[in-house]
């Protein structure tokens, strides 16, 4: 099958407008007859389910948590980008588009990214109308801040809880549709397979996580909005339940997987403290607006940070990247931290951490506050107190969270941070309409591959999730469903449902019958270690080859020695997790294959063999300017390539110096 990205003709600026003007429509009386399944209720899923319910489609929405409000979008801290140019600092749709393509290291589709930038402003309008309490200035208008990889202030935020506020907005819109009867909500349900009839996605098999029963659901189309797969690394900033299962099942049914090796390692997370660690906690990128990152100039310096004088500190991001300083994109910042720690300049007990220091910001804000009071000088204590109050207003909840975890007060002692797996740019391959290579199966939000290329800029994930759900899918889905109005609801007694359910049941029984000696958790940890060591922040040919061998062995061992307690037909979190880890192991192998294929460094994908003399990522546009789209086939994954065309932006060596 050849890949058709279905990018509309015409200039970049008119593609989406023209598409919307000519797309097929479904009349309201037909919408009532068309059923849509939405899996996942994060920003993409909740917004899609709500928007489609509003249009009059019959929607069934699924989430594995106890309520749609808990999806992991809720944890996003820093903000959401939009090309509003409220700050009069030169922002525009084109600049947001350009920054995103450049930030993604020229591995994303121009047309998709332009559309994302185009609808970004409407997202903010929609959220405000829903009652999302964004931060405001005293004049009552919306406030903005900066994020990495940009030189304008276009990020809207609600303290350090932007994801929570946006998700609760989408959740409330979703619950409104539930109340109106347009959406039926299935919580504590996990999708375990896609049902295919005549080559089209026609439903899902889901497991009720309370009773363990398998259930069949029909839909004229199925939308996967199931998030990213960073938990393949075991330790990540993702929630414990985040998984790749829905995408992976779709992949095995024929959906190509795009750029699986493009994963984002976020530079500012609380470092690992011990073997017991179950997850890592992010400290928002917004902190880099005011915090300065440094390590001691001397290797193995064991002095307390506050005892190290200014002249003996190396503010390495400011030194290496004077133009962007502490606000370089995430991939660049993460690699720079790793480089310092690998060279022996790391801090803390494990020496795998760097400092994020707010001392200067506290002084600076203190002086500004002093000025506001009409005073010119005051003692240091007063200045500090005033400055701290400003920092509390901006980042209070993050500082509290840091102190709870580390028992150190970041107002007094610099934070210790280190990179951690955070987001996955890769995901199911989709065309311009967000349809996968399976007709009728769509993929939205982090779960698809489409908008962020090889590296996502901060505050763009929330933007993409909501863009896909509120403003893209309501148009593109109609283009498909318009041809489905003659398809009557297919009863779930259809053999395809029966066969798929049986296959799911057999797999579950197989897992339960292994009765081995090693826990699911232990396998997951081992998987994570292989992936982090060999397919993490730096990758090389030898490491990737050995990782593939190790993963194959791990997979065999898992299927012969995993131990799952309890029964199938009851609430059994270990069984739920076992299915997910089994899929992660398979995905891990594909990630390594993809990383092996891509003999260039770009964005979050850093091949050690491919770097400039200064240690920066060295792209190879002549040979690798494509999206890798992997097809699952018996006998091994098959690589297809979607060549990327850059008509507007000219790919150059990315520089933040």
């Amino acid at each position: 099958m050849s890949l058709d990205s279905k990018i509309p003709e015409g200039d970049l600026e008119v593609k989406w407008r023209d598409y919307k003007s000519h797309v097929k429509l479904v009349n309201p009386s037909n919408k009532r007859k068309l059923e849509v399944i939405v899996v996942g209720t994060g920003l993409a899923g909740a917004s899609a389910a709500a928007a489609l319910g509003e249009l009059g489609y019959k929607v069934k929405a699924f989430c594995f948590q106890d309520s749609p409000r808990r999806a992991h979008s809720i944890s996003a801290q820093g903000g959401i980008n939009a090309a509003k140019n409220y700050q009069n600092d030169g922002d525009s749709v084109f600049r947001l588009f350009y920054d995103t393509v450049k930030g993604g290291d020229y591995r994303s589709r121009e047309a998709n990214v332009y559309r994302l930038a185009e609808v970004s402003a409407s997202i903010i309008d929609q959220c405000v109308a829903q009652g999302v309490p964004f931060a405001r200035e005293y004049g009552g208008l919306l406030s903005n801040r900066s994020f990495g990889g940009t030189q304008v202030q276009r990020t809207f935020y609600a303290a350090g809880q932007t994801g929570q506020q946006l998700l609760l907005g989408a959740y409330s819109a979703l619950e409104r549709q539930v109340a109106l009867g347009n959406v039926k909500m299935y919580s504590r349900h996990e999708m375990l397979d896609v049902v295919m009839i005549d080559g089209k996605a026609r439903g899902i098999i889901a497991r009720d996580l309370i009773t363990g029963e398998l259930e069949r659901y029909f839909g004229h189309s199925v939308l996967l909005c199931t998030g990213g797969y960073a938990n393949v690394f075991y330790l990540s900033t993702n929630a414990m339940g985040c998984n790749v299962t829905a995408s992976w099942k779709a992949h095995k049914k024929g959906a190509y997987f795009g750029n699986p090796c493009f994963t984002q390692i976020h530079p500012t997370c609380i470092p690992v403290s011990g073997d017991h660690q179950s997850k890592l906690t992010l400290m928002s990128e917004s902190l880099r607006n005011d915090g300065r990152i440094w390590v001691p100039k001397k290797q193995g310096d064991n002095r307390k940070p506050t005892d190290i004088p200014e002249t003996e500190r190396d503010y390495y991001l400011e030194r290496r990247y004077p133009a962007f300083g502490n606000l370089v994109p995430r991939d660049v910042a993460s690699r720079a931290s790793k480089e310092r720690c690998d060279e022996g300049y790391g801090v803390g007990t494990t020496k795998m951490a760097v400092y994020l220091d707010f001392t200067d910001a506290i002084k600076r804000y203190g002086m500004i506050e002093l000025g506001k009071q009409g005073l010119e000088t005051a003692d240091d204590k007063t200045i500090e107190k005033l400055g701290k109050a400003v920092i509390t207003e901006k980042y209070g909840n993050l500082f509290e969270m840091y102190e709870k975890i580390t028992s150190e007060n970041p107002y007094e002692i610099p934070m210790r941070i280190y990179p951690a797996a955070h987001y996955t740019m890769g995901g199911l391959w989709v065309d311009y309409e967000l349809m996968t290579t399976i007709p009728g199966l769509y993929c939205l939000g982090e779960a698809n591959f489409s908008d962020h290329g090889a590296n996502r800029l901060g505050a763009s994930a929330l933007m993409q999730g909501l863009a896909d759900g509120y403003f893209v899918i309501p148009y593109t889905l109609g283009n498909y469903l318009a041809d489905e109005i003659r398809t009557a609801t297919i009863p779930t007694t259809h053999p395809a449902f029966e066969d798929t359910e049986n296959a799911v049941r057999i797999r579950i029984e197989k897992l339960m019958n292994i009765k081995g000696s090693e826990s699911v958790e232990s396998f997951h940890k081992r998987l994570g270690k292989i992936m982090w060591d060999k397919c993490g922040m730096a990758r090389n040919e030898k490491g990737l080859q050995s990782a593939i061998e190790e993963l194959r062995a791990l997979r065999t061992e898992f299927w012969s020695n995993v131990r799952i307690p309890g029964e199938i037909n009851e609430m059994n979190p270990e069984l739920d997790k076992a299915g997910r880890v089994a899929d992660f192991i398979e995905l891990g192998e594909l990630m390594c294959m993809d990383a092996l294929d891509r003999k260039e460094s770009c964005g979050g994908h850093f091949r050690e063999e491919m770097q400039t003399e200064e240690g920066e990522a060295k792209r190879d546009d002549a040979n690798y300017s494509y999206v890798s789209a992997w097809e699952y086939a018996e006998g091994g994954e098959k690589l297809h390539k979607e060549e990327l065309a850059f008509d507007v932006v000219k790919p150059t060596q990315r520089s933040y110096k």
């Binding site: 948590q65 106890d66 309520s67 749609p68 409000r69 808990r70 999806a71 992991h72 944890s75 509003k84 309008d125 929609q126 405000v128 109308a129 009652g131 999302v132 309490p133 964004f134 931060a135 405001r136 200035e137 005293y138 004049g139 009552g140 208008l141 919306l142 609600a158 303290a159 809880q161 959740y171 409330s172 819109a173 619950e175 409104r176 539930v178 109340a179 909500m185 919580s187 929630a239 414990m240 339940g241 011990g274 017991h276 660690q277 179950s278 969270m401 709870k404 975890i405 028992s407 150190e408 509120y470 403003f471 309501p474 826990s519 958790e521 232990s522 307690p565 309890g566 009851e570 609430m571």
Partner: protein
């Protein structure tokens, strides 16, 4: 801070499903690091139980960073345990000393039936939101976000109310099993904003009616909800909701 290891006795509520009776089980755990989170201590215990072919303890958790609202343990008689403004996933073991006995129960409320062990059913909260916890604005209807300036004080108050994570600690902490803090937080968030104005009266009336229907108890000003709320949502929201309710009941033309 100095790290230390500890041995503990845990008394944990075990219940197979909503239909069977529950009981306390006692577990001894050894060598727990003060750096672990409370849930990581449960992970360690569950790993051991699995290796001993025993039934692990089911508990709800997801983000483990205090924002999703999924975790819900009643620890030594307090919702989310001993720390102020904290979820149990963010509680760390340095809060305990070696030799201590820790009693862990699920949320206790008639409106939150136990599903298994420490897992409860909080669907009632979703149904209360369905009754009116939203602004009825279809996608695409919105005007430019800055056409509607909002006084910073009101926007901030609205945000503080909106920071509720819907965990249900307020209900668990309340001797009456009241959901007033949860409901009032949503009512306040929207009542404070001009966007919420058109549905202001029906919203509070419908949400309170649903809350009563779900079997939550009344508020008798104990303030345990505020004390145990991991996000510090203020009881001032309850006062605001009472005002909203009263004024809506007196003046709502639709219901006269």
């Amino acid at each position: 801070m100095e790290h230390y290891n500890m041995d503990l006795t845990l008394k944990v509520w075990k219940q197979n499903n909503s239909k069977t009776k529950g009981r306390f089980e006692t577990y001894e755990v050894k060598g727990i690091s003060s750096e672990m989170s409370f849930l990581e201590m449960f992970d360690v215990l569950n790993e051991r139980l699995i290796s001993e072919d025993k039934d692990p303890i089911a508990f709800d958790h997801d983000c483990r960073e205090g924002i999703c609202g999924m975790c819900s343990m009643y620890v030594n008689g307090r919702a989310h345990g001993p720390w102020e403004k904290n979820t149990v996933c963010q509680l760390h073991m340095r809060a305990f000393k070696s030799g201590e006995t820790i009693v862990v129960e699920p949320w206790r409320s008639a409106a939150f039936p136990v599903i298994k062990d420490l897992v409860v059913d909080r669907d009632a909260f979703d149904r209360i939101i369905q009754a009116g916890g939203y602004i009825s604005v279809n996608t695409g209807n919105a005007v430019d976000a800055n056409t509607l300036p909002i006084e910073k004080y009101r926007a901030d108050e609205s945000f503080f109310a909106a920071s509720c994570i819907g965990c249900g600690a307020c209900v668990a902490a309340c001797p009456n099993g009241s959901a007033m803090l949860f409901v009032s937080a949503k009512v306040s968030q929207l009542a404070l904003l001009p966007q919420g104005e058109p549905e202001r009266k029906t919203r509070v009336l419908n949400m309170v009616a649903q809350m009563d229907k779900e079997g939550f108890g009344n508020c008798s000003n104990v303030y345990a909800c505020e004390a145990e709320c991991p996000k510090g949502v203020s009881v001032a929201n309850i006062a605001r909701m009472n005002r909203e309710y009263l004024s809506a009941g007196l003046s709502d033309e639709a219901s006269i």
